[in-house]
Symmetry: C2
Subunit: 367 residues, 2 copies
């Protein structure tokens, strides 16, 4: 049984379907979305995902009459470049993709972001369907239409907004996902609980374990996915183009980004860094009397239960501060922090005193 969540936008509303073995029903869903039976499809995926799921998806779609070809790309963060976009465009050309054709992204956020950007820029925009296979992509990257690649000067500097026509989340594909990747995705889920969903927070607190897919009952995982997707979808609906509200999704990301950068993106996964960033943001919020130590310890417990790091790494204070200043999320030179204020509530502050940040970092560094 597939559950569906509708993401309603002025143009391009779309459906997010969640259900076990969903990938075996992709064909029906495409037909329900009015894609024609002889549709030309380019399936973009990567070896780790193609091996367990790709062939099955291709055969399934072919059996429904679609003309499918697959393109297998390397999907490491270091391959998230314009060169890979050119490879997807070359395949789009060879597969004769037309205005009405479709690209399907089957994989994690890297595949989704690149296939999405390639679709956004082929013939000035053709349809993209996202079939995310990491926890992070299911609850975050696949939803909301942000697509892009890295520039030598920074991550995701090149990209565009291009909403998918459909997002299909099949939790059974998480079986093969490395547990560390699973936990990293869980960080974003905890984030949704804090910034927007008391119900999700409660559900996470009730769960015996959050640290690996085997230890979470399938129904419970589906509920967690559903709440998370609803939270992100709600925020995207209210602010499609990152006007202001969508900025709350950066909770934990300001200092998380600093950790990622200063450890050269090779020590922490994104979600792990976000976990550290959320703890730090929670501390700042406490210092500003915006939220309570009790809430902060609830947040910490969840992060611990998810097997995510709790201890801020030893990083030179100067580097942290100058990296903060250079952050993309800076507006007019001021550092913006998303800070929690209650259950499912946050505010954005750009006047956190520098001394407070210094004080905090001195306190938590390698404590």
């Amino acid at each position: 049984m597939l559950q569906t969540i509708n993401l309603g936008l002025k143009t391009n509303s779309y459906c997010i379907a969640i259900g076990d073995r969903g990938i075996s029903r992709l064909g029906e869903l495409l037909i329900a979305e009015k894609f024609k039976k002889d549709l030309k499809i380019l399936l973009v995926t990567n070896p780790e995902v193609f091996l367990p799921y790709g062939e099955e998806v291709v055969k399934h779609l072919q059996s429904k009459g679609f003309q499918v070809r697959s393109l297998i790309i390397e999907a490491g963060e270091e391959s998230k470049t314009q060169e890979t976009i050119q490879r997807i465009h070359d395949a789009a050309f060879v597969q004769h993709l037309e205005r009405g054709s479709l690209i399907i992204a089957l994989g994690g956020g890297v595949v989704g972001d690149m296939a999405g950007f390639a679709a956004a820029t082929w013939l000035r925009g053709i349809s993209i369907v996202q079939v995310p296979t990491t926890l992070l992509a299911m609850v975050d990257a696949a939803i909301g239409g942000k697509t892009g690649v890295n520039h030598p000067g920074g991550k995701n500097l090149i990209g565009s907004f291009h909403q998918p026509s459909l997002v299909l989340i099949d939790p059974t594909t998480l079986k093969t996902l490395p547990s560390r990747e699973f936990r990293a995705g869980m960080a974003e889920i905890i984030k949704y609980g804090i910034i927007g969903s008391p119900a999700l927070l409660y559900h996470l607190e009730q769960s015996d374990s959050l640290s690996s897919q085997e230890n979470i009952p399938s129904d419970s995982l589906k509920s967690i996915l559903k709440y998370s997707v609803q939270t992100k979808a709600q925020i995207v609906m209210e602010d499609e183009r990152e006007g202001s509200l969508r900025a709350i999704l950066n909770y934990g990301h300001t200092l998380g980004h600093v950790v990622e950068t200063l450890t050269n993106y090779n020590t922490y996964l994104h979600g792990e860094a976000v976990a550290l960033g959320m703890i730090a943001a929670g501390e700042i919020a406490c210092m500003l009397n915006l939220w309570t130590q009790d809430m902060q310890s609830r947040q910490k417990k969840l992060i611990e239960k998810a097997g995510l790091p709790l201890v801020w790494p030893k990083l030179p204070l100067n580097s942290v501060l100058s990296c903060l200043q250079g952050d993309k999320k800076v507006q007019e030179g001021k550092v913006r922090f998303v800070l929690p204020t209650g259950l499912g509530k946050v505010v954005i502050k750009n006047d956190v005193p520098k001394e407070m940040i210094t004080h905090l970092l001195n306190r938590i560094s390698g404590e």
Copy 2:
């Protein structure tokens, strides 16, 4: 004095300003559009345009307090590639362009399409201001938000829709434009007359000459520009994303494209090929009793007065037919022709009998 035409869209409405020496007032216009005084600007242009106008524009903008840098790119059709987009993105990075920053395109359609695409894809879309300096870019490329580059497999296959924040047309910059380029732009203007503006058509018919900028009085040229811009703007407003109406802009382009392709894009300028395509489309419309020989000869007279080619080149019939089939404008294998039916009126037909096309080509080839 600047005249302005408003292009109203659901989101991103913008103003098209026309006036002699307009480029000396660009700064004021930006301020009127609410760009901040300390705005970071990347001006993208090419040597032929930078030499007569670029330095002046840069100095003018700097005198208004803007932080301007210029990037000079080669702007031949063969440079209209992803590699050039990467160069623009590199410059955007060096110039620290942020969400609120601006790219200005100063040049013909090649510069405008590329700077527009680079802006569309930098930080998922920053502002672009178009300052077109060819007749074709003034009445066509700069208006409507189509941006892009070529793929080795075909022209403009890569791109996106990204409306400008402002279009500034300064007819005095046409002084230095090679006359052959001027005439090519005039073909698109004649097209607007036929597909949508009896007033423009009348104005063109009244004009003593259309074949070079010196021979057209400045006021008359401005009226022609205004009518043309209004016609294109009207069509874009009614169909921002090329749903259906916008297809009428392809009048003359179906067979024009065939001529360009089969002569390897090195014999005819785009506008020259469009002129040939319009004549051919007019003939087909006559054969189908959609319009009259009288109208067709009025069209021919305008094309002749603009110094554009009238005689269909000797091209192998088979190549023409197979090129027609491979045209991007094909829907479900059928060739779509935009055909005139009266003053400022066209229809789209996808059932022109193949025999009729063959017959026509036999008749007009090298006649």
